[in-house]
Amino acid sequence: MQVAGVVTRLAWRNLWRNHRRTLIMLGAVTVGVWAMMFMTSLLRGMVTEMVRDGIEGLPGHVQIHHRDYRDDPSVVNSLPPASGRLRAALDDPDVVAWTERVRVPAVISSERESRGVTLVGIDPTAEARISFLGDEVAVGRLLESVDDDGVLIGRKLAETLETELAKRIVLMSQDPDNEIVDRGFRIVGVFDAAIESYEEQFVFTGRAVAQSLLRIDDRVQEIAVLGSDFRDIEPLLTHIRGAADQRLRVDAWYELDVYLGTMLGVMDGFVLVWIVVVFLALSFGLVNTLVMAVFERVREIGLMLALGMKPAVILAQILVESVMLLVLGLFCGNVLALVTVYWLRDGIDISMVAEGMELFGAASMLYPLLTTDDMIMANAVVIILGILASLSPAWRASRYEPIEAISKV
């Protein structure tokens, strides 16, 4: 313990011996750490926004279907309205919102064109809390109730069909007996979606209207559930799985949208790679500084060895000096990153560069997101790799010959 005292004292004093060099290095570590964290927060912000848009695009955090629906998403693979234990689970407080949907393949035709789409019958009130359909529509109005017999189509689809608000279209699908059913609808609203493909794929109408068109009484194809955080849905998932019976299948968003799920995983790896790359750039400066410091101190290190300090303690002393520098740099870098992210909390407008990126599901406002996990990871990487990088100069110092130090030069 006494040795620890002298080691930290020496390390600290030595650190400030060459003010200029230490401050430059400190600046470099600070900027490096800031860059690690800020860039990570931008990436995280972007991905979170994508996932959020993706989830809002319809899935919810958890979905319940008929066991066979995902293989054959047709009208026959339907469920009765939630009741009993399932209903109780859905009304649990950790469920933020839930809704039941009719969801079947259909063909939409204007007087000029036809397209295959997904017809979704919704309860507009419940839906508003889960998906983007709670937002404004570009033109026209939102659906008003389950009995609303207007349709909402995407802007892109409207262009393809060469139709517009207030025009009529025909929707055609099949009932459970494989009979063709069809009906004319009036377009009451045209929506914009963060993800452009949604504008082409989905057509919305009131749920009761869709049910009567498809002759399925009060049955639905999908129950969508929203929890509080998309990153932490396992408890919710388990809870609902426990309440759902054999014929149902309960999926998490990352199973429903494998692309989004994978993206989140890839991003974890990407963040780590980025942090390590920045650290590598830093480590050149760090190692160089230490090598110089150790070289300048041949004599006093030799003296300490001559007086009986163990080589291992010399090694520790250099490592402690390096860790002190890193901890100071980390502190400044962390603070700087937090301040930057706080300062940009209202988002960065990237619409100028985002045009082309909508394809990937990127939104035009970017909200930097600095998570505790990422901060811990960046700090841990810097400290652990920093110690590893300092080992070589520290080792060299501990191998000095005491005799070199105390003899005349």
Binding site: R9, L10, R13, E300, L303, L307, M309, A405, I406
Partner: protein, 229 residues
């Protein structure tokens, strides 16, 4: 009891294509509590011999025994331990750690030994007073004269009451009054604690305090005489 025993020590240095003799078959025995001066002209091998005894340099051949243990084969770590606990050093050229104050330099060895802070502080203060540095405890080496630095080094060497003190030209930068004071201090320690002193010097004043003078020339012992003080 024998404090130091050197048997047939040889040490040569290679510089370029030249072979320089540091020690040439040196055999020397020093009893515990002796007060020995090593005397030689410059280059005679004083420092080389002290380094061998202190376990700082390994002889090419021969044996070194300190306090009954053979040390010339020990590992670096074991040698460090031996130095830390048995020997007080005053080096010829470089003695103080520049980032530590006088007091901290004196406390350094005790701190590495793991002694408690209060004891360290007390001992350091006393010994600094003994070498006449009261009031300079918190100075950094760079802010002290050569003589003052030398006295800090002496203070550090004796503060732990080591069994043996190896001092290489401890009076080199001192005026005769201070030099005398230091030597009195050494003699006092030698008498009261039976501390063994081996002092390399060409200073006549120092020699007059020694009870035994070993003369070296070109790495060989040429004279070894007792004298009354």
């Amino acid at each position: 009891m024998t404090a130091v025993r050197c048997i047939e020590l040889c040490r040569t240095f290679i510089q370029g294509d030249q072979k320089i003799t540091g020690l040439d078959h040196v055999t020397l025995e020093v009893e515990k509590g002796e007060f020995v001066c090593l005397v030689a002209p410059s280059g005679g091998g004083k420092t080389t011999l002290l380094n061998a005894i202190g376990g700082l340099d390994r002889p090419d051949s021969g044996e070194v025994w300190v306090a009954g243990k053979r040390i010339d084969q020990l590992s670096k770590g074991a040698l460090a331990e031996m130095r830390l606990n048995n020997i007080g050093f005053v080096f010829q050229a470089y003695n103080l750690i520049p980032v530590l104050t006088a007091r901290e330099n004196v406390e350094f060895v005790m701190q590495v030994q793991g002694r408690p802070a209060k004891e360290r502080r007390e001992l350091a203060e006393n010994v600094l007073a003994e070498v006449g540095l009261t009031g300079l405890e918190d100075r950094l080496p760079a802010k002290m004269s050569g003589g003052q630095q030398q006295r800090v080094a002496v203070a550090r060497a004796i503060v732990t009451r080591p069994a043996m003190v190896l001092a290489d030209e401890p009076t080199a930068n001192l005026d005769s009054h201070t030099a005398e004071q230091l030597m009195e201090l050494f003699v006092e320690l030698n008498r009261t604690h039976k501390t063994t002193f081996i002092i390399a010097t060409h200073d006549q004043r120092v020699m007059s305090y020694a009870r035994r003078i070993v003369s070296l020339l070109d790495g060989r012992i040429v004279k070894d005489q007792q004298q009354a003080t």
